[in-house]
Symmetry: C2
Subunit: 384 residues, 2 copies
């Protein structure tokens, strides 16, 4: 297996895009290729994610992007795994490059939903749940994650301020990230007085609907030779699934797919949770960040929610989490999210995370969940 | 790179399914695993294709299928490349297994559209074209392929009977295939008197909208050891792209992505077109079969359309083409098509193609196109 690097990364500003999803995808792809020092013709395969292309009447986006890059002959496909789509794309890119099938691959995620009303957007999101058992009975993601939060509140001594501290921390980080949807801090007061969306989740527990696009270039060490910027060595690329339907799970105090993918990733990398310097975890709701920190082995059961309040996961804490602002405040353009987590690692490794630097940047982890954990991807990166 | 085999394959009957796409996908997956002699727990990755899951309110299908197979922890993703989706999935499965990342992978395509009216179904299909340049201006696939047919008629001495002979041949084959949507022969008379759909294409030039599901198990030779049935050795798995928009192509007398992927596949396999004993090619319209035969190098330019009329591509001809009945008559459940072409090779290799046997079954080729050739996959298989 060849040593495989992320050698270029780019993101637009999440929020509301004027351009179409394909245009944004093409633009960030060009920027990522430029950052990598490679040329479009070096790309051997393009993995696109664009879950809600249907909302723009557009599937089969890969050839359109490759056409825009001037490499129409390059093969492509679109990869969907709900909110973990583009990290699933990164996994395929890693496999293709590490296995020697191509020397370099492009991974790009793009999403545009802002032209839809909230009901339509929520309906699109909901197709990632189990239709006959969940969606058809009225379940949407705020409700499903509220169920996880309720289970958590019932099991552990948890105060609203614990979830609030996650939101406050991630907004503070996003305020320093030019890619973020919400570039403003919030106070605990604002959090505590925000309206209930799905009890116990408040408005500021929830990530926004965002448009956005982000891209990575993945390449073999032996192909790149002299990288233009500090590369991310892919130490682990692990994925796992789990039972989709929450009612069929033995336990709601965590996501089984995170546990499986996380354990697999640490095994692959020959590392332990304490070796990770900082991480981007999937915080579509504040409860999701709490569960991720436990499922990945960073904090003990019941310790995930209080970590932010205790100052352990702020940028200057023991383990900085979501220095980008996370899905919560950077935003969650579904198909761009997995890739954008890696963009944050790239920017931290390369001194590009101005004003939101984390102190140690030797080894980082990204964690991306599909739906309520039917799928999960965990990647571990380190410096050369 | 490890020698990689297709060790199990299954298809349901194409046409109209009562069950949902996910149910059909789970059923054919179980059948393919059973045929392989492996157990569900041997599967390391599941690649699903299900382009129009949105029409059933369902994305993120992989975890649902894996849940049904009793292997919820296995990672999965959904792969879309328009009508070449599940052959793109086969390519990823090949890469994962040949590269040593997993020992066995499941590839399954499933589609259900029959609950939609024709306009809605046509609209779903149309999203695989270029929206602003093609779809938005009223182009649908019958119109786009009619443009290719017109260019062909203008360039070569072609008679309606040539296209008709392709339809007559493929219906005759489908009449002997229990998986086929249309299990009936048609006469040249019927073809010539069928209504024009998009001039010059007649009703019997066009494949139907079909529901259907098909699955393959791909595994490493060293993992399988003693296969339960005759395996298909994957000699080549090649993909390519091309400019999506037909108006931007220098030439309409063929599909550039077929030429690129075909040449790549023959290089990988160290074979030439004359080494192929039989092939399944992408005949969404009769013109598409004619172009494929030329682009793959089986017949000279302008010779593709007359091959069927000359008896060269019938089951007892020099190079049997679409012994399954092809998309034209076996049917075209978009995401199941690429996999179902390989099911035909599996059945021919294993003496399961009763009544439609081809005489030589040492080496076979499958050719699967996305949209009007924005993507293409070519696979070559041989016996051990």
């Amino acid at each position: 297996m060849r040593e495989t690097w992320v050698v270029g990364a780019a993101s637009n500003r999440f929020g509301k895009m004027k351009e179409t999803g394909r245009e944004a995808a093409t633009r960030v792809s060009l920027a990522a290729i430029e950052a990598s020092g490679l040329a479009p013709k070096d790309i051997g395969y393009t993995f696109v994610s664009n879950c809600f292309g249907i909302a723009e009447h557009q599937a089969h986006v890969g050839p359109l992007i490759n056409g825009g890059l001037g490499i129409p002959e390059v093969p492509s496909c679109t990869i969907e795994s709900a909110c973990s789509s583009s990290s699933a794309g990164l996994h395929e890119a890693f496999v293709q490059v590490a296995g020697g099938f191509v020397d370099a691959a492009l991974v790009v995620g793009s999403e545009k939903l802002s032209h839809l009303d909230t009901l339509a957007a929520t309906s699109y999101f909901a197709i990632a749940a189990d239709y006959p058992f969940e969606t058809k009975n009225g379940a949407t993601f705020p409700g499903l994650y509220a169920t996880l939060a309720s289970a958590y509140l019932g099991a552990y001594r948890t105060t609203p301020e614990m979830f609030g501290a996650i939101a406050v921390k991630n907004h503070a980080n996003a305020a320093r990230n030019p890619h973020a949807h919400f570039q403003k801090e919030i106070s605990m007061e604002t959090y505590l007085h925000s309206p209930i969306i799905a009890s116990p989740l408040r408005l500021y527990d929830c990530c926004p609907f965002s448009d956005g696009a982000a891209a990575l270039v993945v390449a073999a060490k032996e192909f790149v030779k002299s990288p233009q910027s500090e590369p991310l060595v892919i130490r682990a690329s692990a994925r796992a699934g789990a039972i989709t339907e929450m009612q069929d799970r033995p336990d709601l105090l965590g996501l089984p797919s995170t546990r499986t993918a996380g354990a697999k990733a640490f095994r692959q990398a020959h590392l332990e949770p304490r070796d990770i310097d900082f991480a981007e975890v999937h915080d579509c709701f504040t409860i999701a960040e709490a569960l991720a920190l436990e499922d990945l082995g960073f904090f003990p059961r019941g310790g995930g929610a209080r970590a932010a309040l205790d100052g352990l996961t702020t940028r200057d804490g023991k383990l900085p989490i979501n220095s980008s602002g996370g899905l919560k405040a950077k935003g969650h353009p579904v198909s761009a999210t997995g890739v954008s987590q890696v963009v944050e690692v790239y920017e931290q490794f390369n001194g590009l995370a101005k004003g939101r630097e984390v102190p140690r940047t030797q080894t980082a982890l990204t964690h991306n969940v599909g739906a309520t954990g039917g799928s999960c991807s965990v990647h571990i990166f380190s410096r050369r």
